[in-house]
């Protein structure tokens, strides 16, 4: 069964073709080739409008093999959460194509896409025993869930203010590393000493609150950076290392607390998705955590599946296709505020 998947939930315009959990194509606008095609970077306003590039992205994902949706069995589209006007563009295209070619639509929650992204091109999907655990760490979300089975989720902890990726991006910005600078911050952090400065671990000792919070750390970082100005390269390395260290410590401390206290029997697998899942340091720490609890930790196989993309939407849709969970084409609508538990 072959699915055309579309995601326009925020900044990226993305389309993909998937077969089961295998990825046939995965096109994201911000990739270099697309920029080349349109002669450089578009102004940000147009970047967020999706409208001008969605058709090109879909055509490119379909390629020669599936031209005009030939051989496509269903269209999967992200309905939320995300920016309302952006979601609308993808949904509109999905509906038009579904009607034109008389195929069915599968409505997908963007967060479910991230959670299931480690299953993409994964040969051992059928070995996973449920309940399992899921963790989304991205620019827009920080969410730890129990996966009772695919399609049925329970929130164990989520951010009450800033997302982890957002915090890293903002920390980078404070040090003049641009935006989004989470990836730059990671590179700087590798060269720094994480014990050089003292930043407070959010809600340390109060992990029983079962939440993630990064606003306090952000403020502490702001004050620290201001007091260290003018910044030297050395200082930036150390500040980046400290900030990342504390941000990740909070993440793992909360997860560990929940694993220790809320699970008599530990699930066997943890699926980790979202842009921050590309960070080597966080992978290292989550693997270590997995070892400690006897949990296998799975990450997306490629960086192109960590950030926002449509391939993960196709992967999530493959399970719905199996259960014949189709949406009524005419009533598919944007859900900017969608929850993974909906």
């Amino acid at each position: 069964m072959k699915i055309l998947a579309i995601d326009t939930s925020c900044d990226e315009t993305a389309a993909a073709v998937t077969e089961g959990t295998n990825i046939t194509s995965n096109v994201i606008w911000s990739q270099a080739s697309a920029h080349a095609k349109f002669g450089g970077v578009m102004p940000s306003l147009a970047q967020r409008m999706h409208e001008e590039r969605i058709d090109w992205v879909i055509d490119r994902a379909l390629g020669k093999d599936y031209k005009n949706l030939n051989g496509i069995d269903a269209i999967a589209v992200t309905v939320g959460p995300g920016l309302s006007i952006a979601l609308g563009v993808g949904i509109d295209r999905a509906k038009k194509q579904a009607i034109k070619h008389n195929i069915k639509i599968i409505a997908i929650n963007h967060l479910e896409g991230h959670v299931l992204s480690p299953l993409a091109n994964n040969k051992k999907v059928s070995d996973i025993v449920f309940p399992a655990l899921g963790l989304v760490i991205s620019g827009g979300n920080t969410l730890f869930i129990k996966i009772k089975k695919i399609g049925s989720y329970q929130i164990l902890a989520q951010t009450t203010d800033d997302a982890l990726g957002e915090a890293l991006d903002k920390g980078a910005r404070m040090m003049g590393l641009g935006y989004p600078g989470g990836a730059v911050l990671e590179r700087m952090a590798r060269l720094g000493n994480s014990k050089k400065y003292k930043l407070p671990i959010p809600i340390v000792g109060q992990e029983a609150r079962r939440m993630f919070t990064y606003s306090g750390l952000k403020t502490a970082m702001y004050r620290l950076v201001e007091s260290e100005k003018p910044l030297t390269k050395r200082k930036i390395y150390d500040l980046a290392a400290c900030f990342q260290d504390v941000a990740f410590s909070h993440l793992t401390r909360t997860i560990k607390y929940i694993l220790r206290n809320d699970f008599a029997v530990k699930p066997g697998t943890l699926l980790v998705g979202g842009g921050v899942a590309a960070n080597v340091e966080v992978r290292k720490r989550l693997r270590k955590l997995g070892k400690e609890f006897g949990i296998k930790v799975l990450f997306p196989y490629s960086k192109k599946i960590t950030g926002d993309n449509a391939a993960m939407i196709g992967v999530a849709a493959s399970f719905k296709y199996e259960c014949q969970e189709f949406a009524k084409t005419e009533s598919v609508d944007r859900k900017p505020n969608a929850k993974i538990t909906d």
Partner: protein
Amino acid sequence: MQVIKLKGKAVGAAVEILKKGGLIVYPTETLYGIGADATNSQAIKKLTEYKNRPFGKPYSIAVTDRKMAEDYVELNETASNLYKEFLPGPLTVISKGKHKVSTGVESEDGTLGIRIPDYKLVIEIVKKFGKPITSTSANASYKKRPYKISDILENISAKQKKLVDLIIDAGTLPHNEPSTVIDTTLDNPVTLRQGKIKLTDKNEVLTRSEENTENLAKEIWQKYEMHIGKRAIIFALQGKMGTGKTIFTKGLARAMGISELVTSPTFALENEYETGKKKLFHFDAWRLDKSTELRALGFENLIKNRSVVSIEWAERVADIIREFDDEAIIIWIKLEFGKKENERKISWGVTQ
């Protein structure tokens, strides 16, 4: 629970209830207040349960005059001057407490807010009772300001109703602001809540915790919520990273009755929250390169539809927001870091 009209017998009835550790709802020159014996720990416990707020949040107390106030707090020169100038009247003056009230009435730092209402009934009750009573608004936390009895009863649970022993009904009170709250225990007196009485000509408040900031958002919302549905209401939030713009919006949402978790909209650019009839649109202009992008996000339609909108990093899109001066009530809010780590100086102005 008994409801009686405001007349001669009200004082005696109220005192009887207070003696037994009960709760009374009474009118003042600002809002309906709820009173308990400030020296009776059982009564204070009952009040905290009614208000539905965490233990440790202090209550101010009503006394008859300065002399009685001095039994409970130490007045410094600043406080003395404020008493002379403004009391009795809609002002709560915070001073160093003498620890003669029940635990939970004074703040954790041992300070205590004193109010001398400009309202005969309250003075008579306290005089006859001989002890101070709590002076806090009669609504439960984050519920509507109580100007009439139905404002209270329609917004509390059956369980909360049971906790109230007596209501003195004086009909609908004039819609006055709650009292201004001034802390005199610091080197410079600071305003913690801005009512009718102002120390300076600008609206400026010092908050000392995230909860304080949320609370201020609630206070400001309650000043303007009467415009809901008639005009768009825009909260234009300006302030550096980490000053509490999202926290402010959390308080605003809570005051609107929204129970959903409000998080930073930096990544999504816009989040929407809903409760029954009310909807809050929460924008973040931080990632916008040009102010005109706000229009591309559908801002104009929201104003036309008379929505409630909160915009973080409003300074980045100020020119677009100002274009709607006529259509919308725009509350410009500035958040700055204070001297201490958790302190924020928050000031605001309104164009309407």
